[in-house]
């Protein structure tokens, strides 16, 4: 026990919160001192501070901690496996012929950003529901098309996340908890539907993916049975991917796993060559796969009463939304979509950038991507940092998470597990926001990807979630 007299007998070791001059003076005297840089919790919002105090009160805090422990165990114990590919209409729960599911929290057509509008209209043309983009815009605005967030259909979608009925999707099954998750296929290059591009080349590629790539992957997985994705993810991290912005290793080992089955399919050699060339054309091929894996684990961890762990972070280019395990179902807590900071491709300026978009932040929610930056030194320059900065980033994310995932580790940090289970209480208390790696789409429809960088969610999401969690727990305590 740390009593006063116990203190007198031990060596002094200080945690200094606030003025750094005190830290310096203590260091000069040879005292071990660690510095806490103080930011006003919850940005000083009085109501949220009171909610935090309630969540921190005796009796409540313990219940939350216990629930969070359960949530993190579920994330860690989830064993997502790739079990197949199929068309969205055949497998995605609630999918309809006139439905388009998209990234982020719910958003109406009139509020959709350029990239999403481009993707929606492109998808409508691809589905044959509209004859051209202009016609598609009219149709999208007419109310005949139902829009719904991917996340509400056990699905995630990269960037605009636009997934239409006949597109092929991954099918990922949680071998521990049984839930199934979906995500569409990578279109590879930068001028693609998910980035808002929708010219004929984009549509043609989607058609080929529907007619050749998707069916071939489906057949291959029928032969393969299943592929353990968590194992591949952990290998990819050891090979220098953070599996959000860098997927070089992940794509290599995924295609390595798929190849024996792809070559056994009934497709022509030309089709197979086309598929392999397509996979080779971009490292991003496995990007969606890791998103589906993360979604699969996070869905298993959703709906645990009292838990303050974030199970979804997603953006639609208009708003950033989070969901929290202890707030059941599809309750979204949103704030405005943020500006992504990062290098742009030659020829684009900062003002061309669309706001933060995509469900890919599910990877950070799970603990990879920006949270595992230190395992991917090759891309730290992308975010203007050094290798040491990336190590600090991973450690910093450890300050807002509940625990570490021992199944997915980072070699450079002595095989420390990835930071797992973002706790809204910790985010608000520390003022440290999750760091998300992401791509940047052009703000106008029809153009595509123009860069990559990092972004934080708006604090507002976490504030709203804390207030709702307080209300929910008060109800439960009645």
């Amino acid at each position: 026990m740390n009593t006063i007299n116990g203190l007198f007998k031990n060596e002094l070791e200080v945690v200094n919160v606030g003025l750094e001059m005190f830290q310096a003076d203590l260091s000069d005297q040879g005292v071990k001192v660690s510095q806490v840089n103080f930011l006003p919790p919850a940005e000083g919002d009085v109501e949220v501070l009171e909610a935090l105090d309630y969540l921190d009160s005796p009796g409540i805090k313990e219940k939350i901690d216990l629930a969070n422990k359960e949530v993190v165990e579920k994330i860690i114990n989830s064993r997502p496996a790739l079990v197949g590919f199929d068309q969205a209409i055949n497998v995605i729960p609630g999918m309809k012929k006139n439905m388009i599911i998209h990234a982020g929290p719910p958003v109406e057509w009139k509020n959709m950003c350029g990239a999403m509008r481009g993707a929606v209209t492109g998808a409508l043309v691809f589905e044959g529901l509209a004859k051209d983009i202009e016609d598609a815009e009219r149709l999208a605005a007419s109310g005949e098309i139902e829009f719904s967030p991917c996340h509400e259909h056990a699905t995630v979608g990269s960037m605009a996340g636009v997934t239409s009925p006949s597109m092929y999707v991954h099918i990922v099954e949680n071998k521990t908890y049984g839930n199934v998750s979906y995500t569409n296929l990578s279109e590879q290059l930068s001028k693609i539907l998910r980035m808002g591009a929708n010219d004929q080349s984009v549509i043609d590629r989607l058609i080929w993916m529907r007619d050749v790539l998707g069916p071939m992957l489906k057949e291959a997985m029928e032969i393969a049975g299943e592929i353990d994705l968590r194992l591949l993810l952990s290998q990819a991290l050891h090979m220098g991917d953070e599996c959000h912005n860098r997927n070089v290793a992940g794509t290599t080992i995924l295609i390595q796993a798929l190849t024996p089955y792809l070559v056994q399919t009934s497709f022509s050699t030309k089709d197979k060559v086309d598929v392999f060339n397509f996979v080779a054309s971009s490292d991003y091929f496995s990007g969606p796969t890791w998103m589906a894996l993360a979604k699969n684990a996070m869905d298993a961890a959703h709906n645990v009463e009292y838990s303050s762990v974030v199970t979804t972070m997603a953006r639609n280019g208009y708003e950033f939304g989070v969901r929290v395990s202890g707030l059941e179902g599809n309750q979204w807590f949103t704030g405005p979509a943020q500006v992504v900071v990062g290098p742009l491709f030659a020829g684009f300026k900062a003002e061309d950038s669309g706001l933060d978009i995509g469900d890919s932040a599910i990877t950070e929610t799970y603990g990879i991507g920006g949270f595992a930056m230190s395992t991917a030194p090759a891309i730290v320059s992308l975010v203007g940092g050094t290798v040491n900065d990336s190590i600090l980033t991973t450690k910093k994310m450890g300050e807002i998470t509940v625990g570490e995932n021992p199944n997915v580790t980072i070699p450079i940090l002595n095989f420390l597990g990835i930071p797992t289970g973002i706790d809204i209480r910790k985010v608000l208390e520390t003022g440290v926001l999750p760091l998300i790696d992401t791509a940047i789409a052009h703000k106008e429809p029809g153009i595509g990807m123009i860069g990559a960088g990092v972004v934080n969610p708006p604090m507002e999401c976490f504030k709203k979630a804390a207030l709702a969690l307080r209300d929910r727990i008060k109800d439960l305590e009645k």
């Binding site: 006063i4 007299n5 203190l7 007198f8 070791e13 200080v14 606030g18 510095q35 806490v36 520390t430």
Partner: protein, 515 residues
Amino acid sequence: MAVKTIIRKNTYFDSVSLMALSTKANGVEGVKQVNIAMGTTMNKDVLKNTGLLQKEAEDAKPGDLMIVIEGDEGYDMDELLKNVEEVMERKTAQGEDKDVTYSSIEAAVKQHKEANVAVISVPGAYASRVAGKALREGLHVMMFSDNVSLEDEIALKKEAHERGLLMMGPDCGTAILNGKGLCFANEVRKGSIGIVAASGTGAQEVSVRIHDFGGGVSQLIGTGGRDLSEEVGGIMMLDGIKALQEDEGTKTIILVSKPPAKKVADKIYEVVKKSEKPIVICFLGGVKDEIEASGAIYAKTTKQAALQAVILSGVPEETINKHSLNLQLIEEVKAKLTPEQKYVRGLFCGGTICSEVAYLVKEEVGEIYSNISKDPKYIIGNLEDSKGHTFIDFGDDSFTQGRPHPMIDPSLRLERIVKEAKDPEVGVIAIDMILGYGSHMDPVGATLPAIKEAKKIAAEAGRHLEILAFVLGTELDPQVFDDQVERLMAEGVTISSSSENTGLLSRGFISKEAK
């Protein structure tokens, strides 16, 4: 114009990187302008025309990168150059662990499981939450923050009491734990005297006098100024006394405070009565009989408290230099002052020093004015002209709103020193210079210009102005004590050796009777 040039031999950055570098370099504090260009003859000509060409650049080749830095006035160019190079270098070295900072106490404790004390200096509105978390993490707390509500203070102290932890503060500026000074503290000898103090500079003064008299300090526990109020009930002082009674390293205990609330004083006397270790009590302005009735040793001043405790701790009395009052000096000074120069003006950074000196002068002259006077009749505002004997505590909240404490930044007082010198009725200006951790690294250097000016004003008016300075510190403090004293003496400043002597000398200099 201050210019420095860096030459990078055969260094090729692409133009975009060059732009980024120059933007970064231009962002360094103190940099007026950084110009980056390849070392071509033409570019060197332009440098020459604009007066920026230096030897290094003259020798540059077209393949070399020239980085020309113009500094703002008053910046050390070598330092600036280093800073610019730093931002231009890509950091490659692995950061030392000391570079790691945390965003919450929980995170820091997770990585430093042996941590046992939290020092908290965050804005008052958040200090209680932070302290609560620290206590729940099992840390003792020293809270430097002020502006914390009384209810919060009581709740925190009760929680700490239940957990067996220290809750020093809010508004606690000084502590010494296991020989290490926290926040504002002096470097003093380790020894067997334990101190519990409700006042910051009072505690510093007691510890420094103990050191000066040859004794040493085991622990110095701060309580914060409100601990002995009726509402708080002396929770921290009582826990502190108990801890020191149980501490094997402590033989003698000193309590330092303003007089406590009656109920609290009674509780303390109860504890003192049962104490096996001798307790010296210095409640500034406290009642001698009451204190002695509890079995404690009464000390009128901080100096006397230290002296009593040092003798009790076993230092032979005859070896102690007690710095008794220099009566001859008093006569000399009195002789220099005109009959018109009848007032003392005390301008202090340390609150307890101000109170103690004022108290001693008041004993002699009866009527003094102060910004910290309890009697509304004798309160004087910050900007009001001094009248009669005036004592100003520059560390009072009304001065420090939004500004650093004068112990950190003594400049707040300079103008006032000069102003008092112009008043023909002023005979003595008494000031303190507080050394130690937390304090300004050269308070004398910061104050000397005003002292010189004051002396000059008086000399030009044909009168002697007595400036009396008390340097609170030890020879072990990070500031060099002897150097501080010598620089004051060189300007004709009289040095007093303690807070008590500052009071006694001040009143002596202006007393009417010949001694």
